[in-house]
Symmetry: C2
Subunit: 120 residues, 2 copies
DNA sequence: CGGTATCCTCTACGATACTG
DNA sequence: CAGTATCGTAGAGGATACCG
């Protein structure tokens, strides 16, 4: 139950996130929501994947985006970056236990999304 | 498996969303992701709620935001808007069956989010 | 009460080119 | 291969005021 305090444009204090349950939903969304995050995690579900492979698998995301999301995921402790070899440089990304713990949600979301022929 | 074609700044065709499973995740996220959407649905889980009550419950969202999200949710068929009375004007929002079908995901997300003391 | 209308800022995302 | 650097734009989201 964390609240943070911000200062608005006129110097007044305002309380942000006087949390309750739905706030947990917002927090969760920040972790696995966001444009490509869920898909990245889902792609890592079985095995480590290399950076460029991930970019291709996502089909549409730029390297920059994938890079950004991966860094976020790393900071959040959901993903581990591993250098497999220099020369030629090879890097893989894989899920941590925490990352893996999100798979259930994503799988449920995927099934739900598919089961209603949801339009773009 | 829907693909759409866009034209880029230089007039070249590019294929967007050559879909696979994770794409379903992106689609799903568009429905229940987004800043306040999950929380709104979650707040409607038990009973219809009036507009201003919803705004207050969300604590931090502006009327404009809530209004926007509710319209999206209505279009997507997840929420029904119901005018209870004119004079004084009273409106409630409630979940459709489809909306209700998303609750499992949100509940799972909430529990997951809470179980790891996730930082803002 | 249940919204609209306005304005404004900020950052998310994409395109592109370049580097170790 | 695995990124970084740069630049540009759209639109998401907030503050505020007003309306039927």
């Amino acid at each position: 139950m964390k609240s943070s305090v911000k200062i608005d444009s006129k110097g007044r204090k305002i309380v942000v996130d006087a949390c309750n349950e739905p706030c947990a939903i917002e927090k969760g969304m920040r972790l696995i929501g966001g444009k490509w995050k869920g898909s990245i995690i889902y792609h890592l579900k079985d095995e480590p994947v290399r950076f460029n492979d991930l970019v291709r698998l996502l089909g549409g995301a730029t390297k920059k985006m994938v890079d950004q999301r991966l860094k976020e995921l790393e900071q959040e402790g959901m993903v581990i970056r591993r250098v497999i070899s220099d020369r030629p440089l090879a890097v893989t990304y894989e899920l941590t236990e925490f990352g893996r713990s999100a798979l259930g949600i994503l799988e449920l979301l995927r099934v739900w999304s598919e089961s209603h022929g949801i339009e773009l």
